[in-house]
Symmetry: C2
Subunit: 109 residues, 2 copies
């Protein structure tokens, strides 16, 4: 059908910088974005967050990222496929993702 997913996603030009920054300002959400930088992942396989985090909490986390336009969340069988919206973010805010996904403190020692 016309709808690639049952969840609402902003389209590219609706993505707003403050919301993106807010979404990424949480360590857990940032970790998810970083993990997705290597390619799409099913939510069940996304171990970026605490494994004993309640599902509802994890789902809410993804909601914030999705509504900000950072990730895409589409049904995939009985799972959810998560994708970093790199093309859209790069087009809208060039350089932002590269800067943010770069490892934070890895080289500091």
């Amino acid at each position: 059908m016309s709808n690639p997913s049952d969840l609402a996603h902003p389209d590219r030009d609706q993505i707003a910088l403050p919301e993106v920054l807010f979404a990424l300002s949480d360590p857990d959400r940032l970790a998810v974005a970083r993990q997705l930088a290597d390619g799409p992942l099913d939510m069940a396989s996304c171990h970026a967050t605490d494994p004993n985090l309640p599902k509802s909490t994890k789902s809410h986390l993804m909601k914030v990222l999705r509504e900000a336009g950072v990730i895409r969340n589409e049904p995939n069988g009985r799972r959810r496929r998560l994708t970093l919206r790199r093309d859209d973010l790069d087009a809208r805010f060039p350089g932002l993702l590269d800067a943010v996904l770069r490892d934070p403190d890895r080289l500091a020692e």
Copy 2:
């Protein structure tokens, strides 16, 4: 005196990405950072925010930016000199500031 400012500022390697992103995720605070990109400014001359914003609110705004390490706030006579910590931020998160300070929707049409 030994102290260049009476307010606490994190030093460069204390600056954390989530806090920076959070500080910049508010439109008012983002506007302040953008205005300071052109050079230091006295707080009284900083018209990036609503002019009839109460002083305490404006002060709190600056506090968030300062504690995140985004700006420096040092006494200057009976005023306050605000400075964007571009060197520190560029060193710590290369490309971030450039991406964030770029005009958001200017070219979108």
